[in-house]
């Protein structure tokens, strides 16, 4: 059995994103990715639906008063929240960047398609664990918003909304994140999937209020292999997919200096994320999707 699971694991790990992208059904993609990722994992104490008592913790502003343990309050004159295992991961909000830059892809899978599959996988994983799942698709404004819910019809609706989006327009984290804060007051996990071609300080300014709100934020930065290590042979005129700005660059610049700039940008984002209390994950669109799912689960486990 163990050897069969290992083979299955290996099999799923070998499913390249471009193969997954060939599947038209996003539900099938998500199911394939999640099932593949979970097979072989030992049962984790971090997962599973249960009403088993987990802990008390002090009430903080923003907690639902319905979960205050009034008995404790009567005895100690302090407000405590009674937490169960099932309550610790019941809320996942996926924020998907659908700006024009996400349409870039040097191979068969664009960054947006990869992000779509990732978002669908997260949604499927959350549903499978009976977590409430919601999505917010944005570019420079909010294009689609679905409030977190654990109803049975939520996953198909989310998959449908993800599938219907076409990347376009520019990126602006400010307005969508502000609206998100207005709609979601309940604390939970927030996964932001984007290429994050923005000023790290601007990103910090948008994400930090979420952390202040009590959200556990993970920034999933999706990058194409070409962006990480570009290779060109001749002088090339690069056109910005969002602004249309054209700049001609030399091969030497692209192969020597540009990767350094990307690394510096990623590092700056990581620092900014750390300052906001958020995690930062860099995803290579050429890599299988189970790897980011694992990193997500690790993140989820740390944030319990």
């Amino acid at each position: 059995m163990a050897s069969s699971a290992a083979r299955h694991d290996v099999y799923n790990r070998l499913i390249k994103p471009e193969v997954l992208a060939g599947l038209a059904n996003l539900d099938l993609i998500a199911r394939t990715v999640v099932e593949g990722a979970l097979i072989g994992l030992h049962r984790s104490p971090f997962f599973g639906f249960s009403q088993e008592f987990a802990e008390y913790r002090a009430y903080v502003e923003g907690d639902d008063p319905r979960f205050i343990d009034w008995n404790v309050y009567a005895r100690t004159d302090r407000t405590y929240i009674k937490r169960f295992l099932g309550d610790t991961n019941s809320h996942l909000m996926v924020l998907l960047d659908a700006s024009g830059s996400m349409a870039f892809g040097s191979g068969a899978v664009t960054k947006f398609r990869y992000a779509q599959m990732l978002a669908a996988s997260l949604a499927y994983l959350a549903t499978r664990q009976h977590d409430a799942i919601g999505t917010l698709i944005f570019d420079e404004a909010v294009r689609d918003y679905r409030a977190p819910s654990s109803r049975s019809g939520q996953l198909p609706a989310i998959l449908h909304s993800l599938d219907a989006v076409v990347p376009a327009r520019r990126t602006d984290l400010g307005k969508p994140f502000e609206r998100f804060r207005e709609h979601v007051s309940r604390r939970g996990l927030v996964a932001v999937i984007s290429d994050f071609y923005c000023d790290p300080d601007a990103m910090l300014a948008s994400v930090q209020p979420l952390a202040y709100q009590g959200q556990d934020v993970v920034l999933m930065q999706v990058l194409d292999p070409f962006e990480l290590q570009p290779r060109i042979n001749d002088a090339t005129l690069f056109e910005d997919m969002e602004t249309g700005e054209a700049i001609e660059v030399s091969p030497d610049f692209m192969q020597r200096e540009y990767p350094e700039r990307v690394r510096a940008h990623v590092a700056a984002l990581r620092v900014a994320a750390a300052r906001a209390g958020a995690d930062h994950i860099v995803l290579d669109t050429s890599k299988p999707l189970d790897e980011p799912l694992r990193q997500y689960l690790l993140f989820r486990g740390r944030r319990r």
């Binding site: 830059s101 870039f104 962006e227 001749d234 910005d240 054209a246 660059v249």
Partner: protein, 668 residues
């Protein structure tokens, strides 16, 4: 070949077309989308378009094809050095030697002759030449039947006979005569202008200095300035009568300040010598006071003392009148009439050399008519038949008469003397007539102005004869002033009065000038004039009239027996006094040198070089069809270029085909 042929060189502009076509292979940088340009360096090279020329061999052939075609249509000529290429053809040389007065300066004529001989020496086998003396006239020297000769000894003889004259040479005149001097031959013409090239001989229009050919043949003009020093020169430029004194004007050219002396002669006898200081290049007037002149014309000669650069202008000649104004009879019924007063006053204030002598018609002796050069009658109606016949005879024999009309002429049917019919009298007292037409070409009226202000209240309506010339007419077309040819004399008919009863002419400003000009014309002074320049033409004959004789300054009769009847003019080649004798009068004409010849300053080198350059440019005049060989030293390249064009076309086709096959092979 057309003069517009060089415009085909504009076809070279088409060279840009193949260049453009061969650069269509554009290598733009590869265009690629990228998520964001925020991490790209803006200091990298900006967008540029790099184009490369392709198929260089084909391009070169195509460029050559277009260039050769353009040059071929431009019909270029290859100018060969003398003796190179084609056989050099014979040429006709015109050796034009300046014989104007300035060439009389020391050494100039000798230098000109030497230069002419040098040109003759350099003539080659088959060349012909003619010697031309260019002064106030352009004259071929007798060297052959048609003026041109290949006989060098004859040419040398002709050169040796050249002498400086008294006339003035205008270079434009000499250059303009080249084509006609060259005759009808087909030989290319080389004109050699040998001169001191005085700056005063330059014409106002530089274009006049370039030879032109009516026969479209090639004329080459070569300038041969003679090397001659410019010596100081003084010249007598004027002799004027001022009361009893005679003023002589002397002017210096390139001369330093100093003192000039002038001796004066009147009718051959010396009348003294005067000295006066003169500034450098300045002018001095020497006055000979109380010079007694004879009545009538006096021959006055002023001679400059000392020696200078040019002797020919050291003597001046003038005809001065002595004895005061000549009396002209004014035949009138009343010597105290208004007409007599107005006419006398007009002649007195004008510069005319005549004065009116009012004489009663009844007391005038017709036998004395021959004493007078002209006379006036103020009222034709008062002339009786006897006097009219005498006056007619007088005019027919060369006399002159101004016949006006007055109140007594109102009833005439025909005018006396002239015989013209009178149709009545026009009376416009309430609305006077004005002058409608004036014949400004007539010498009598050419210098009169202001006729439009004259009002005519009464006038005779006279029908002019077929040979009469109406000099002036009123606004209604009636003849007011008529010139009638009567024999060899002159008759002026004024069909209104000379007082202010029928018109306001006597009180109009034009009256004075009219009387002065009428006096000059009736006296015949405009025909000859008393002052002329050497080289001028003196008109002699009036149609059909006997002209008499002209005696030159040396006392020789200039006209033959036949010439005394039909000669139209004589040329005043010498300086001095010419005596013109006609049946009715005798005139004296003083001939002087042109003062512009006295300035010996030559053209500056820059101007001379400009003339040479312009002349060389003008030599590119297209030769006549078929005369290419005659041009001799220009090889047409068009046919060779066309052959080259054919070769380039073949090469271009072969190269294009080869490249096409190679491209097809690569694709397959």
């Amino acid at each position: 070949m057309s003069l517009l042929a060089p415009l085909f060189l504009l076809g070279l502009l088409t060279l840009g077309l193949p260049l453009w076509l061969h650069r269509l292979q554009t290598q733009n940088p590869k265009r690629q989308m990228i998520s964001s340009a925020m991490l790209l360096d803006r200091s990298e090279r900006r967008l540029h378009v790099q184009k490369r020329l392709r198929f260089l061999l084909l391009l070169a052939l195509r460029l050559a094809l277009l260039a050769v075609a353009a040059f071929a249509f431009a019909q270029p000529l290859w100018r060969l050095a003398a003796g190179a290429g084609l056989q050099r053809s014979a040429r006709q040389h015109l050796i034009i030697v300046d014989t104007s007065l300035s060439m009389g300066a020391a050494g100039r004529m000798e230098a000109a002759r030497a230069e002419a001989l040098r040109v003759i020496d350099e003539m080659q086998s088959g060349d012909r030449a003619q010697i031309v003396a260019a002064g106030s006239t352009i004259e071929r020297q007798a060297t052959g039947a048609d003026g041109a000769s290949g006989d060098q000894s004859a040419l040398r003889r002709a050169v040796s006979q050249l002498r400086a004259g008294n006339g003035r040479l205008e270079y434009a005149l000499a250059v303009g005569a080249i084509d006609s001097l060259a005759g009808a031959g087909d030989l290319p013409v080389v004109a050699h202008l040998i001169s001191d090239f005085q700056s005063s001989g330059l014409s106002a229009r530089f274009a006049d200095l370039l030879p032109r050919s009516e026969r479209a043949r090639r004329i080459e003009l070569q300038l041969h300035p003679i090397a001659a020093p410019v010596a100081a020169n003084w010249a007598v430029t004027g002799i004027r009568q001022s009361g009893n004194a005679v003023d002589v004007t002397v002017r210096g050219h390139g001369a330093p300040a100093g003192t000039v002396s002038v001796k004066l002669e009147v009718n051959g006898s010396a009348r003294g010598e005067q000295r006066a200081p003169i500034t450098a290049d300045g002018e001095a007037t020497l006055r000979f006071a109380d010079v007694a002149l004879n009545v009538g014309d006096n021959r006055v000669v002023a001679r400059l003392g000392g020696t200078d650069g040019l002797a020919g202008d050291d003597t001046g000649y003038a005809v001065l009148q002595g004895g005061g104004p000549q009396a002209v009879p004014l035949l009138t019924t009343d010597p105290g009439s208004g007409a007599a007063t107005f006419i006398s006053a007009a002649l007195n204030v004008s510069a005319a050399r005549f004065r009116a002598a009012p004489t009663r018609l009844t007391g005038f002796d017709a036998r004395t008519l021959e004493r007078y050069r002209w006379l006036l009658v103020d009222d034709a109606g008062a002339v009786d038949a006897t006097l009219a016949a005498a006056l007619r005879s007088y005019v027919q024999s060369g006399g002159a008469l101004l016949l006006a009309t007055g109140t007594r002429a109102a009833g005439l049917q025909t005018l006396p003397v002239s015989g013209e019919a009178v149709r009545g009298v026009t009376v416009r007292t309430a609305d006077p007539l004005s002058i409608g037409r004036v014949d400004g070409s007539h010498p009598l009226l050419v210098n009169t102005r202001g006729w439009q202000n004259v009002a005519i209240a009464r006038m005779l309506k006279v029908t002019p004869g077929s040979e009469d010339r109406v000099l002036m007419a009123t606004e209604d077309g009636e003849a007011l002033l008529i010139e009638q040819r009567l024999g060899s004399g002159r008759l002026l008919l004024l069909n209104t009065s000379l007082d202010n009863t029928w018109n306001d002419l006597p009180v109009a400003p034009v009256f004075v000038s009219f009387m002065a000009e009428a006096a000059r014309w009736l006296a015949g002074e405009e025909a000859y004039g008393s002052r002329q320049l050497a080289g001028a033409v003196l008109p002699l004959a009036q149609a059909g009239a006997t002209v008499g004789q002209v005696i030159d300054p040396e006392g020789h009769e200039m006209l033959s027996l036949a010439g005394t009847r039909n000669a139209q003019s004589v040329r005043l080649a010498s300086t001095g006094f010419y005596q013109v004798v006609t049946p009715v009068r005798e005139a004296l004409v003083a001939v002087n040198v042109d003062p512009r010849e006295s300035d010996l300053t030559p053209l500056d080198a820059a101007t001379l070089q400009s003339w040479r350059t312009a002349t060389e440019a003008a030599e590119t005049v297209a030769p006549a069809p078929g005369s290419v060989q005659a041009a001799g030293n220009a090889l047409p390249l068009a046919r060779w270029l066309l052959a080259l064009l054919a070769l380039v076309v073949i090469a271009e086709s072969l190269a294009g085909n080869w490249l096409l096959r190679r491209s097809t092979k690569v694709l397959s």
